[in-house]
């Protein structure tokens, strides 16, 4: 079942095409600079929660999303900044979300693990490993029933393929021949557990054999190869040919999350993969193809850097998500149709005595544990 995709001799796409090359490179730089900024803000204690960075994996998100049409959809993961950016989200409301601002994509309610520009066709990041796969499949079923012609891409990691959700959703996609592309970003680890240990098969792609659709493995650090393989899978999906499992081989440079001590992988392995930098590789190809000049590349870098800087600066100044407003009408946040509004007596959510500290001025207002 496994086919190994080759990058096509790109004509109107790839490093040789100035417009395409610039766009892809810019997307990859946006992702990298955005995540570097996030990493930095985190290190400086200015960001809350945890963070899963996709630095090193930019070519996968970029190559796949480049293969999508405007109305197509994606479902993303805990490591979802790159997918979000590649699917066209603005950096400002993304950064605002991570900085817990009211102007964030999720109004400060979702944070990194739920970030999405819904209007751009992102069905949501997902804090649950494998959680987005059945959702993407359901969305693909809706596209098929509604005849929209849209394709849904579902991103997930190698580790997610060990979840029952992957299996059930892949099977549904297969039997109903849905317009969905299952993109497994294989970065060799699910947290600390390597694919060698978590599976007894050599590739994720061959798991497609259990469902009867193609499984394709591709160099996930080669944006052109990813694009080519994704283009083929998207065309198959759009043409009624059903799903594809696309495995993009890549690597995360950073730890799994903020608490990772990297005890499960060697410095050599990390160094080796860092040497296969998807951005540097693609720049080299662009220069080789002569489609963009050194100056133009520098322009892309500057643009990404400036956009991220602006996003940080502007969102820093934006108003915080407001706990008073939230507490005043929590049901409006929890439900699309909060009851109590049209049914007397039924209150969906009552603040019932919380938020005392908001009215207090004492320093003890913030309790130790909630920091």
């Amino acid at each position: 079942m496994t086919e190994l995709a080759e990058a096509p001799a790109a004509s109107d796409a790839g490093a040789a095409d100035p417009r395409w090359a610039r766009e892809a490179l810019l997307t990859m730089y946006r992702i990298r600079r955005f995540e570097e900024a996030v990493d930095d803000l985190f290190a400086r204690g200015m960001m809350h929660g945890t963070m899963h960075l996709s630095i090193g994996q930019e070519a996968s998100a970029t190559g796949v999303c480049a293969a999508l049409a405007e109305g197509d959809l994606i479902a993303s993961t805990h490591r979802g900044h790159g997918h979000c950016i590649a699917k066209g989200a603005d950096l400002l409301p993304m950064m605002a979300e991570l900085l817990a601002k009211d102007s964030g994509y999720c109004r400060g309610r979702g944070g990194s693990m739920h970030i999405a520009d819904v209007a751009k066709g992102n069905l949501g990041a997902n804090g649950i490993v494998g959680g987005g796969i059945p959702i993407a499949v359901g969305s693909a079923l809706a596209q098929k029933l509604r005849g929209t012609g849209a394709v849904v891409v579902c991103f997930f990691g190698d580790g997610a393929t060990n979840e029952g959700a992957f299996h059930e959703a892949a099977n549904l996609a297969a039997i109903w021949q849905l317009p969905v592309v299952l993109v497994c970003e294989n970065n060799k680890y699910g947290m600390s557990f390597s694919t060698e240990k978590s599976m007894h098969v050599a590739t994720v792609a061959e798991r497609a054999a259990a469902y009867g659709f193609p499984g394709v493995r591709v160099d996930g650090n080669d944006v052109e190869a990813v694009f080519a393989a994704a283009t083929e899978a998207v065309a198959r999906a759009r043409g009624g040919g059903g799903p594809t499992l696309l495995e993009t081989m890549t690597y995360r440079w950073k730890g799994h999350s903020k608490s990772d001590k990297n005890l499960y992988r060697t410095r050599e392995e990390i160094e080796q993969w860092r040497a296969d930098d998807p951005i540097a590789d693609f720049e080299a190809k662009i220069l080789g193809a002569g489609s963009l000049t050194d100056e133009e590349l520098e322009g892309v870098r500057t643009q990404a850097r400036d956009e991220v800087r602006d996003a940080v600066r502007q969102s820093m100044q934006a108003p915080d998500a407001d706990p008073r407003a939230f507490l005043a009408d929590p049901a409006a946040a929890v439900f699309a149709r909060p009851l109590g509004s049209h049914v007397a007596g039924a209150r969906a959510v009552e603040p019932h005595g919380l938020g005392t500290a908001l009215d207090a001025t004492s320093p003890a207002a913030t309790s130790e544990e909630s920091k």
Partner: protein, 358 residues
């Protein structure tokens, strides 16, 4: 909160989030006839599907088989396999698919054959459906209806007889209804289909074959409103699901003994209609809370708590009494199965005892 885009809209991305909650038409007087609870559920689905092609049903054996309890019946014949969709045995997958469909312009109803199998799908119900609207800051919502029969009494034993409403009622972001009669089975389901949020509709196996008057028209029963099918003066029974009819039967028997009981049908567990329920308790000062589910940390615990923390406490003439299922799995043997959940006799006995306390 979301853009007004019709289902027929051709552009995919905005349409994916373009579902606009239909606002329920004002309830109209309408002709009624007596049909079964299960027919009422089917009629609600059929009318909703006929009126709105965004409404689809999916579940195991809902097609030609007609549903594990025969509820979907002829819907497959009427609407075809695309809209009345048989699925593999993959509860997590199909609820998740329902979530994805709900996010993408459809109004899915997912049937789970026995509510016990929601265990398989809890991630999609709780971590996804219930939270997506909130987590996305309101940018999308999930108009998903999850239908599942609960309850014991059919000899199906521990893994096919649970009453799990407490879990769902405890989960922020879900609305939870338990229709106790045919009319509510239809009316609450229609409201659930209208609702822009995920609604868990817990039907009851033993009620499927019971009958009652049901409006011919698609008359909604509002989510969030309890009913008081009987008013009395001595004590107030608060009940859910199959216990409502047992309480009504018990109340009729007690009447003969000179004990006059109100019966409250909670109908909607979340959001909870405290006004109606506590109001009815206040009227008599004695509360008998009756459910099939185990007592410990249950829905009736909540009703008791509402009393204990409100002014109703001061109107109590006796301590609250909960009559609930045993904190035990449901056994197979009919004689054991019968004693682990309240029967009419138990209700009568508990009511008599309560009426004389204090």
């Amino acid at each position: 909160m979301t853009a007004t885009v019709e289902h027929s809209n051709g552009t995919a991305a905005p349409a994916a989030f373009g579902y606009v909650a239909g606002s329920a038409p004002a309830d109209a007087p309408a002709g009624e006839r007596v049909i079964t609870y299960s027919e009422a559920v089917r009629e609600a689905m059929g009318q909703a599907m006929a009126a709105d092609d965004r409404v689809v049903l999916l579940g195991e054996d809902v097609g030609v088989y007609g549903g594990a309890f025969g509820v979907s019946g002829d819907l497959h014949g009427r609407f075809g396999g695309e809209r009345v969709r048989d699925t593999p045995i993959s509860e997590l997958g199909i609820v998740g698919a329902g979530v994805g469909m709900a996010l993408s312009g459809l109004l899915p109803i997912v049937e789970i054959q026995f509510s016990d199998f929601t265990c398989q799908a809890m991630d999609q119900i709780v971590n996804q459906a219930a939270k997506i609207h909130f987590m996305l800051g309101g940018a999308a919502h999930v108009p998903l209806v999850l239908r599942a029969p609960g309850g014991s009494g059919t000899g199906a034993a521990g893994q096919h007889s649970q009453s799990l409403e407490a879990w769902f009622a405890h989960t922020p972001g879900l609305k939870v209804v338990m229709p106790s009669n045919a009319a509510d089975a239809k009316g609450l389901l229609l409201s659930a289909i209208d609702d822009p949020d995920p609604v868990v509709v817990l039907e009851h196996k033993l009620l499927y074959k019971t009958s009652g008057p049901v409006p011919v028209e698609p008359v909604r029963v509002p989510i969030g409103k309890a009913a008081v099918p009987r008013r009395g003066t001595d004590l107030t029974m608060v009940a859910t699901g199959v216990m409502v009819s047992r309480c009504l039967e018990a109340a009729a028997r007690l009447e003969a003994d000179g004990v006059s009981a109100s019966v409250v049908d909670v109908r909607t567990l979340t959001p909870f209609d405290a006004e109606t329920v506590l109001g009815a308790i206040d009227e008599t000062g004695r509360a008998l809370l009756v459910q099939e589910a185990p007592r410990h940390v249950s829905f009736m615990s909540e009703v008791a708590a509402r009393i204990a923390e409100s002014e109703s406490l001061y109107r109590l003439l006796a301590p609250v009494k909960r009559l609930c299922g045993l904190d035990s799995p449901i056994p197979y043997a009919p004689q054991l199965e019968r004693v682990v959940v309240p029967q009419v006799d138990d209700v009568v006995a508990a009511a008599r005892a309560l009426a004389v306390v204090g």
